[in-house]
């Protein structure tokens, strides 16, 4: 049976850091899945974001929906210098999964869909767009709105092959 869901790289934080980067992502897969269990040091409930290929220009936008236990809401952000894809807690290692389809082509903008848990505050889903002049994604940097990503947080990048 061909392996179609392969770990590319995994990182478990041994100390608090501001960013986590997956670099030299091979272009040999069809899609990427990024699985995280993240706790952050400050700003409970603040967002997690990513940058592709170290792009810090305002090429990112996102539409999100969330429920906080009493109400359901949706919103969007645009022309940001990072792509929001989830939120994180300062008390628990919460689960966020990002799916990035067709990441290796150089002809289209890149869209991701993500699911993020913040079980004492929200459940969330994001659709995130990167609209830099199309290029293959070869690195992903993960950051938080403030503070650090905390020791023990885990990040695994999987590659999925369509064939």
């Amino acid at each position: 049976m061909p392996a179609t869901y392969e770990p590319i790289s995994t990182q478990t934080l041994g100390s608090d850091v501001a960013t986590v980067t997956f670099s030299s992502i091979p272009a040999t897969y069809t899609d990427l899945v990024l699985v995280m269990a993240v706790k952050k040091s400050t700003s409970d409930g603040g967002y997690l974001a990513l940058r592709y290929n170290s792009d810090t220009a305002t090429n990112y936008s996102a539409t999100y929906m969330y429920g906080n236990g009493t109400s359901a809401l949706s919103g969007r952000v645009s022309s940001e210098a990072f792509g929001r894809f989830g939120n994180a807690s300062t008390s628990n290692f919460e689960n966020t999964i990002v799916s990035i389809q067709n990441y290796a082509n150089a002809t289209t903008y890149k869209t991701s869909i993500s699911r993020s848990n913040l079980s004492n505050v929200y459940t969330l889903s994001y659709c995130t767009l990167w609209r830099k002049a199309p290029e293959a994604i070869n690195s992903i940097t993960i950051l938080a709105d403030s503070g650090n990503l905390v020791t023990g947080s885990t990040f695994t990048l999987y590659g999925i092959k369509a064939a």
Binding site: T10, A37, M65, G67, R115, N120, L124
Partner: protein
């Protein structure tokens, strides 16, 4: 090349239904667990929830739910690990709902954050799509998983597949 997305076990409910679907003695060799379910309850209503009891426990859980039913969206909480609304006996016959639970770092010594996604299309009202953030605030490794319906039994042909995912 290592197989990193591996089927551990599939359970299919036989005639007469089943009060629960359980995975016992889960290998402690993977990084994450993924459970894909196709479910229907025998309870005489249109839809019911499905609950997950890790290590046989229904305690120490919290959840935030976001739900759309075709006409409105809402959010609610639960003190169970929950997937909202699977079809039940009063739903269109032969309709089964899909559910997916993802458990990262199931062997870790911290509380477990569990994602649950469910859908139920009924060709009528009471169709539902939901996402849920669950927290099982227990630091034990997960060794068993038991799914139970909110009421009634799981109907015949309900099924659940447990996958182990490794990060290396």
């Amino acid at each position: 090349m290592a197989v990193t997305y591996k089927l551990i076990e599939t359970v299919t409910v036989g005639s007469g239904g089943a009060a629960s679907i359980a995975f016992a003695s889960i290998p402690q060799t993977y990084t994450d667990l993924l459970i894909k379910l196709s479910l229907r309850s025998t309870n005489a209503v249109t839809n019911r929830n499905v609950y997950l009891n890790p290590n046989g426990s229904s305690a120490n859980a919290t959840a935030r739910i976001l739900l759309g039913d075709g006409s409105s969206v809402s959010s609610s909480t639960s003190t169970r690990i929950i997937g909202r609304d699977i079809p039940a006996a009063s739903a269109t016959s032969s309709v089964f709902g899909n559910a997916e639970f993802y458990i990262p770092n199931y062997r870790s010594s911290v509380a477990k954050s569990i994602s649950a996604d469910t859908v139920m299309e009924n060709n009528a009202t009471a169709s539902v799509s939901s996402i849920t953030a669950n927290l099982w605030n227990v630091t034990d490794a997960i060794t068993t998983l038991t799914f139970v319906p909110e009421a009634g039994d799981f109907a015949q042909y309900s099924s659940a597949s447990l996958y182990g995912i490794s990060n290396s």
